[in-house]
């Protein structure tokens, strides 16, 4: 307050001046103290004990001091206006927060607040980005900061709050995001300026710092030509080539090593990326009776053997698994049927084992080829649960042994595997066998209506009736080797003793007589009743034809051809004896008087033409052995 105010005191009315301090020279006294109020309106600031601020006191004489501070209403600061001679107080601002006001309150934001408002939100006049609440200081309320308003809250044009402060922010303005090759835009949504990546690429070639250029949204370190890279075929090697700012990976055509991974469960093989799911199951198929497990070997998916498949699992061609092996479900085992005397066979031929135990006789088809010229027929199948018997019936036209082919097949429409099996069984019909002590050699019908035969190894002569009754008679000389037997003119049977140099005679009743042949080691072999009432025989090693009377007198005739080895002899219809000469390959003829003739066998060119009469009988074998031993 300066000089102008002191000058106005000269005309102020003296009302209520409480103090004379600093008010020199005035005729107006304070109403209470009597001090001069000449200086009202111009009081020194330091004369605080003198209250000259009341308009009534200072305007008692109608004086008005324009510009004086006044208070139009509580918590409002005003200034005195004297315009037109009328005094008024014009509000110019709110009283400072905390200014005491009536009823013991304090001014808060221009309002007189009492402490009853404590905690209420209030605004901090000096910072719109801070929140405030009324707090009490004694009986007065004060707006004190409590925190920040939300970042991004506008606090003026192009201004937003950030961290409790009001900052400038221009939304949408271009900026550089973290990827310098993307387009950025300022966002103010979360406070101060934030550069948001729009993910849009900057133009290729745009500089992105460090001498690099953008390429497809990335700030490259330049194009490293010659560097290895992955071409379109991940199983080939690639080399980097540059085309302007564009990097190109050129396929070299060279394959990566087989087995190189080229993705999940994918491996290179032969330059091609193929899927290979190691450990996955696979089907081995074919004749494998195991599950398959994929192994990736050199990139190739290999189906390796896993665990055994259940028995009966179909495999291969019309086969099933059996303990890990692929085999035909059917197994035929031929029976060995006994020979039958009749020409009709009727019986079991084979047993059939079927691994498909659900098969029944009705689902198994069996055909029988009987081994003669007849058509095949169906076999009879009996049994079940995998075990069957196959039988059949057939009538042959002649005796003999026949090979019967048995073929079994599973009927597919019955759910079988279509398996097949075959076997052969030997069937003998029309033959009746009568066992004897040993091997028989020569046999002839005797005059008694029975069959007579020799058993050289047993040194016996045997007799069998047409109904099969057998009698055996031992030759008195041991190891005589009775070889051949014939009917003599006397109603007896005559036989040669090959090793005994004798001729034997046996009556139909079985009485044996023996007669020595003069030539030692002559090996009597063939024998026959002669037309002259005698018995004739050959001497194989003696090269003679022998004649023996029914009384046992022997006469020998030497064969003109030495070493001819005469064997078989019969009486011809011409009254002569005919015999074979096995070594000379001739047919010999001798008259009852002992006159020989020789007829060479001219070998024919026809199949079966023989160089020699094939008389490789047991006697002949014995002969050769003997000769060898003696030579």
């Amino acid at each position: 307050m300066g000089v102008p105010i002191r000058a106005c005191c000269l005309i102020l009315a003296v009302v209520g001046c409480g103090s004379v301090v600093g008010c020199g020279g005035s005729s107006i006294l304070d109403g209470a103290s009597g001090a001069s109020c000449a200086a009202v309106g111009g009081c020194d600031a330091g004369a605080s004990s003198l209250s000259c601020s009341g308009d009534a006191q200072c305007s008692g004489d109608g004086a008005c001091v324009s510009g004086a501070t006044c208070s139009p209403e509580p918590c409002t600061v005003g200034v005195t206006s004297c315009t037109g001679g009328a005094r008024s107080c014009v509000a110019i601002a709110s009283a400072a927060d905390g200014t005491p006001c009536e009823s013991g309150g304090v001014c808060v934001q221009g309002q007189c607040s009492t402490c009853a408002d404590a905690g209420a939100s209030c605004s901090l006049a000096d910072n719109p980005c801070r929140t405030g609440a009324v707090s009490c200081d004694g009986s007065t309320g004060v707006c004190t900061p409590t925190g920040n308003v939300a970042d991004g809250t506008s606090c003026g044009a192009n201004q937003v709050c950030e961290d409790g402060g009001c900052v400038v922010c221009l939304p949408g303005a271009a900026c550089t995001p973290s990827n310098p090759c993307h387009v950025g835009a300022i966002s103010c949504g979360t406070g101060g300026s934030e550069c948001v990546d729009t993910l849009a690429n900057l133009a290729n070639g745009t500089a992105c710092g460090g001498g690099n250029a953008c390429e497809n949204g990335f700030c490259g370190s330049g194009c490293d030509a010659g560097e290895s890279c992955v071409p379109a075929n991940p199983c080939h090697t690639g080399v980097t080539a540059c085309s302007g700012a564009t990097t190109v990976c050129t396929d070299t055509g060279n394959e990566l090593p087989a087995g190189t991974s080229c993705g999940t469960n994918q491996y290179c093989s032969g330059g091609v990326c193929s899927a290979c799911d190691a450990g996955a199951s696979c089907v081995l198929g074919g004749e494998f009776c195991y599950t398959g497990v994929i192994e990736c070997i050199d990139g190739y998916s290999e189906c390796e053997i896993g665990s055994e498949l259940p028995n009966g699992t179909p495999c291969g061609t019309n086969e099933v698994c059996d303990n890990g092996s692929c085999t035909s479900p059917l197994l035929l085992l031929a029976e060995q049927p006994a020979a039958v005397s009749t020409l009709t066979f009727d019986g079991a031929l084979a047993t059939l084992t079927d691994l498909v135990t659900t098969d029944t006789a009705a689902t198994l088809n069996v055909t029988l080829a009987w081994g003669d010229s007849s058509a095949t027929s169906s076999g009879t199948v009996t049994g079940g649960s995998g075990s069957f018997t196959v039988s059949g019936s057939h009538t042959y036209s002649t005796f003999g042994s026949y090979t019967v082919t048995v073929t079994a097949t599973q009927l597919l429409d019955a759910g079988g595997a279509g398996g097949t099996a075959s076997t052969t069984a030997t069937v003998t019909v029309g033959i009746t066998e009568f066992p004897v002590t040993g091997a028989g050699s020569s046999i002839v019908t005797g005059p008694d209506g029975n069959l007579w035969f020799t058993m050289p190894d047993e040194n016996q002569i045997g007799r069998i009736t047409p109904t099969g009754a057998i009698a055996e008679f031992v030759v008195p000389s041991s190891s005589s080797d009775p070889v051949t037997i014939a009917v003599g003119p006397d109603g007896n049977l005559w036989f040669t003793e090959f090793s005994g140099d004798k001729i034997g005679r046996i009556s139909p009743a079985g009485t044996i007589s023996e007669f020595a042949v003069p030539t030692v080691g002559s090996e009597p072999f063939g024998i026959t009743g002669g037309p002259d009432g005698n018995v004739w025989f050959t001497e194989q090693l003696g090269d003679k034809i022998g004649q023996i009377t029914t009384a046992g007198v022997v006469t020998e005739f030497s064969i003109p051809i030495a070493g001819s080895a005469p064997q078989w002899i019969v009486a011809g219809s011409d009254g002569n004896l005919w015999f074979t000469e096995s070594t000379a390959n001739d047919i010999g003829r001798v008259t009852p008087a002992g006159v020989f003739a020789d007829f060479p066998i001219l070998l024919s060119a026809t199949p079966g033409g023989s160089r020699r009469v094939p008389t490789a009988t047991s006697g002949l074998r014995r002969t050769r052995r003997t000769r060898s031993a003696r030579s």
Binding site: T432, G440, S441, I443, F453, I464, N576, P607, T617
Partner: protein, 86 residues
């Protein structure tokens, strides 16, 4: 198979197998054995007087052969005597 007449004329007939012992059968044909009873099975042959041959398989090797008075053929084998109807 070889036939010789009384005058010494010899005729051979192929029989397709070896032949050993021969006999006139009750049927008027000639029957011959062609193998030894040392072997398991063997052929047994029939040849007509005209030379037509038929072979039969026996379950055993036959040695000797004879026409029985009963109209059957009888042969010796390794452990028995067998009877067959021609």
């Amino acid at each position: 198979m070889t036939a010789a007449t009384s005058a010494g004329t010899i005729t051979e007939f192929p029989v397709g197998t070896t032949s050993s012992v021969i006999a006139v059968g009750p049927d008027g044909n000639l029957w011959f054995t062609s193998s030894y009873y040392y072997y398991g099975t063997g052929n047994f042959g029939r040849i007509t007087t005209a030379g037509v041959t038929t072979l039969f398989t026996l379950p055993f090797g036959a040695m000797g052969v004879a026409a029985g008075p009963d109209g059957n053929l009888w042969v010796t084998e390794s452990s028995g005597i067998a009877r067959m109807a021609p």
